[in-house]
């Protein structure tokens, strides 16, 4: 069996056989032209030579080595791995949308612009903000856009000295990285024992070099900060602006509008809350939404609408103080179409039920597992719950092992070791698209693993056992980076 495994995992270049072809290209149907000067021409391209059947089988079998939403429960905290409706793909892939060139004159793409325009409106409504740009290509780029707007706004108001960006210690790594890229200095704010922002520490930072704060809502601990309105007030009073990382909006859809709470700017992760498929690491889309003071700074393009007497006419525009372009074109259009279809499909009623069920499912897991794993914050959680896998440390079983052991049972692992502030964190986000039956099976499995960790710690410690491959040596990978195929030296 090992040779079959080895054969299946041989790389494209290792499979290559001189003379094979993988597709037939058209014959040249125009007269041949003079080639460029020979110095400009390439003489060799080290590329694979394979037939189509081999390529299809290779990639199909590779796919089968993955866990995914279509095959597994995937309770990866902070990632909102919910079901990705197929209708969204079907429409986004149809030639009326997938077959448009981004530089086509706007008259030729009014159907596409209609969708973008409406999506801007829905996201404004959902966030309670007054302006939206769909341009950012993922959450982190949305953050960058957001903090760049804060920076420009402060500068335009003579506050260029305001360079201090507060970020709670539990925040996702993109927050500080984005703040830094926008030229801010990052200062970490601690979380208090109940999982809320430490208000005292916050007040201490409310100095006149304060640019603002980036808060994840609900936080990456899965908690809704009880003092959120107060926090916004403190920052505003100190002359700063308040940014919401909306990657966790799945908890709040239709329950509260972020804008109503006092936030000035936020981003959304359409590839989480709005269920566009994650594709093994993208594409995403990270629209930014802002209060009116920041609207002139939105990244280009924004979709505008001319209400002409007879016909509606959508166009692309750049706000007058725009932070500029974030990418070559108009955002990840294919992702935006999917999110649009998703919103229309669920509608107002469905959107509210998403958050209700996402929160219900997480609290159910929290309640059922809290006797078995340490629960650092024993209060209502939102769409996800963080446990601390410290109980079996004496037996050599840690969060990593428990995660790997879950793979053996056919469940994807929770997010491990994040947030950084929780020791041996296991962040579990079930999402609303999982059934009670699945949750119960997961809960039973987590209980079994707890048992195993006590009675057969090695079984857990050495996991996984049933995956296509056993525990991988990450240290070696980093120590001796092997990052690409290279042609073996001729002997």
């Amino acid at each position: 069996m090992n040779n079959i495994h080895a054969f299946q995992r041989k790389l494209l270049m290792e499979r290559s056989v001189p003379g094979r072809i993988g597709s037939i290209l058209p014959d040249l149907d125009v007269p041949k032209q003079n080639l460029p000067r020979p110095e400009l021409l390439r003489d060799n391209l080290d590329f694979p030579e394979l037939s189509e059947p081999e390529i299809v089988r290779y990639f199909t079998n590779l796919s089968r080595l993955n866990f995914s939403i279509d095959t597994n429960f995937y309770p990866l905290g902070s990632c909102t791995m919910k079901y990705n409706p197929k209708i969204n793909d079907e429409i986004a892939f149809s030639p009326g949308y997938a077959g448009l060139h981004p530089n086509q004159p706007i008259d030729e793409v009014q159907g596409a612009l209609t969708i973008l325009y409406r999506l801007q409106g829905y996201l404004r409504e959902i966030t309670g903000m007054s302006g939206v740009s769909l341009a950012p290509l993922a959450g982190a780029q949305g953050e960058l856009a957001g903090v760049l707007m804060m920076r420009r706004y402060l500068m335009d108001n003579g506050q260029e000295q305001r360079l201090k960006m507060l970020i709670p210690d539990s925040a996702h790594g993109t927050n500080p990285a984005s703040a830094k890229m926008a030229g801010f200095n990052v200062v970490s704010v601690p979380t208090d024992d109940s999982g809320n922002t430490n208000l005292e520490a916050l007040r201490a930072e409310a100095t006149n070099d304060l640019a603002g704060i980036m808060i994840t809502l609900p936080s990456t601990l899965g908690l809704f900060d009880k003092n959120i309105v107060e926090i916004c007030n403190i920052i505003h009073q100190a002359g700063g602006l308040v940014y919401a990382d909306g990657a966790n909006m799945n908890a709040l859809l239709g329950q509260v509008k972020i804008g109503d709470l006092g936030f000035d700017v936020m981003h959304l992760n359409l590839h989480k809350t709005f269920s566009t498929p994650h594709g093994g690491g993208g594409p995403g889309a990270g629209p930014v939404a802002v209060k009116s003071i920041l609207e002139p700074y939105l990244p280009a393009p924004i979709i505008g609408l001319n209400q002409e007497p007879n016909e509606k006419h959508y166009y692309l525009e750049s706000p007058n103080k725009s932070i500029g372009k974030l990418a070559a074109f108009h955002g990840n259009f294919g992702v935006l179409v999917r999110a649009y279809v998703y919103i229309r499909s669920l509608g107002d009623y469905g959107l509210k039920q998403i958050s209700e069920n996402a929160v219900l499912n997480a609290n159910y897991i929290k309640e059922k597992l809290k006797g078995y794993y340490n629960l650092p914050f024993d209060r209502n959680c939102m769409h996800e719950v963080v446990f601390s896998a410290t109980k079996h440390k004496d037996k050599g079983v840690n969060g990593l092992s428990i995660s790997k052991r879950l793979l053996d049972y056919g469940f994807h692992a929770p997010t491990m070791y994040f947030p950084l502030t929780v020791d041996e964190a296991l962040l579990i986000e079930p999402t609303e698209t999982e059934s009670k039956e699945t949750l119960d099976l997961f809960i039973e499995t987590m209980k079994s693993i707890d048992q195993e960790a006590q009675s057969q710690p090695d079984l857990v410690h050495d996991a996984p056992h049933n995956t296509p491959i056993r525990r991988l040596d990450e240290a070696k990978a980093a120590r001796e980076p092997d990052l690409r195929w290279s042609r073996p030296e001729e002997p």
């Binding site: 597709s23 448009l100 070559a328 955002g331 509608g347 929160v359 159910y364 059934s435 009670k436």
Partner: protein, 444 residues
């Protein structure tokens, strides 16, 4: 705010029924789902939500397909538009593989043992892109060609510890804008140099060159390499992957960082995204590279496997000291590009490249002969060229569209009466003839 009752509606995406919800509430020990939201300030709870009601799949598909028909698409019209996105061949095997749930609906491969498919594909992508550009290493992809170029400029500044970015005046103006968005807030300076005979000061961090350039011309990388070397700066090249089938790759000229837009590699054109940015560099700079990198290693039994590696460059470990904030990128499109590169293959890639070249040059030769039209730029080009028209390009484009032809990009704001025309392997001889015939109607 009273709790609005929407319990009459059951979504097909949400399995749990009201009675199951009640069971779960009982297990939790609360009375209602609303109680779980008690941390939210009451006065902001239950806002109105002015979104249309749920829609059936039949209605949705009916309405959205009709809306899609309002667009002029590339399946029904010949396309001569380029300028950063091209109508290229996407092999039929791409979509069936891409849409397999295991690829489409998995997350970033943090759990390597449950993500070997995604990881091995990434390693393949890195390998083939490195080969294509003739560079030591590539990452697993960036947002798009423009952001790759911008991140490359930032990286060059980190590597050289300098803050002056020099950009040729022949790069795509939109790429230029994106570089500004990324670089200016970090207090980096951007200077423009003329492509003909640029003079690079010894303080420069890098020189940014597009290959072929925005107007389709093939830049003289050998010249720029000499200049960057003299200045102690890095040569950063944004290269069109499809041109690399026939043109000498940037790596052969000694480029330090090579980026590019991966869309041409079988990624649907999709009104501008999602695409995938290409990013390569030399081995010695790898720890300054942004983006995800996958490495080969082995498991506890010695079997080969793949993992995310060099993660200490990344934001989730290094936070504000990371090489970039990028997290979710464009893995699925890197997969599309990998499948396409495998399917087109070694000999096919050369052929593909040459099809572009010959067809574009043929079209150019015909247009050049039309009265009133001319090719204002000199120098070699690949599959794209500037045409000076006897009248406003947008007027011409309207007439073309009436004949089911999407014309070139109107660049009259920078070059009066000029249009940038791209010709690819997808343009047939009859399409080229139809283009030329329609253009001829405008000849004086």
């Amino acid at each position: 705010m009273p709790v609005p009752d929407t319990s009459f509606f059951q979504s097909h995406y949400i399995p749990n029924t009201p009675s199951q919800q009640q069971e779960m509430l009982d297990a939790i020990g609360v009375n209602s789902i609303d109680d779980l939201f008690s941390d939210i300030p009451a006065k902001h709870r239950h806002p109105t939500l002015d979104i249309p009601h749920p829609m059936s799949e039949i209605d949705l598909k009916f309405q959205l397909m009709a809306l899609g028909l309002k667009n002029s698409n590339l399946e029904q019209n010949a396309c001569f538009l380029g300028a950063g996105a091209y109508n290229h061949f996407s092999p039929s095997i791409v979509k069936p593989i891409l849409t397999r749930g295991e690829f489409l609906t998995s997350y970033t491969p943090y759990q390597a043992e449950a993500s070997q498919g995604t990881l091995q594909v990434a390693y393949e992508f890195q390998s083939l892109i490195s080969n294509l550009m003739d560079m030591d290493v590539a990452n697993d992809g960036m947002y798009d060609g423009a952001t790759s170029f911008a991140e490359a400029a930032l990286m060059a500044c980190r590597v050289t510890k300098r803050d002056e970015i020099y950009v040729l005046d022949t790069i795509n103006p939109v790429y230029r804008e994106v570089i500004e968005t990324y670089a200016l807030p970090q207090k980096l300076k951007i200077y423009t140099l003329p492509a003909k005979n640029p003079i690079l000061p010894a303080t420069a961090a890098c020189l940014l060159v597009q290959y072929p350039n925005f107007h389709g011309n093939i830049e003289d990388l050998a010249l720029y390499k000499r200049q960057t070397e003299d200045a102690g700066a890095l040569l950063v090249v944004s290269a069109d992957p499809i041109a690399m089938g026939m043109l000498k790759p940037p790596g052969e000229f000694g480029a330090d960082i090579v980026t590019g837009e991966g869309q041409g590699l079988g990624v649907p054109i999709s009104y501008g995204g999602p695409y995938v940015g290409l990013f390569c560099t030399r081995k010695k700079f790898v720890r300054q590279m942004p983006g995800r990198i996958v490495g080969r290693t082995n498991d506890s039994e010695g079997k080969t496997g793949y993992v995310l590696t060099l993660q200490t460059r990344e934001q989730h470990i290094r936070r504000e000291r990371a090489t970039s904030n990028i997290c979710t990128s464009q893995a699925l499109l890197a997969l599309a590009a990998t499948i396409t590169m495998a399917a087109v293959g070694k000999t096919g890639f050369r052929q593909l490249s040459e099809l572009n070249y010959h067809k574009a040059h043929y079209a150019a030769s015909l247009i050049e002969k039309l009265p009133g039209f001319s090719l204002p730029l000199e120098g070699e080009f690949f599959n794209e060229f500037v045409v000076k028209c006897p009248t406003n390009p947008s007027t011409i484009n309207k007439r073309l569209l009436a004949n089911e032809i999407i014309g070139g990009l109107d660049i009259s704001s920078s070059m009066p009466d000029c249009m940038l025309i791209a010709v690819t392997e997808m343009n047939t001889e009859p399409q080229i003839t139809a283009l030329v015939t329609t253009l001829a109607e405008f000849g004086s």
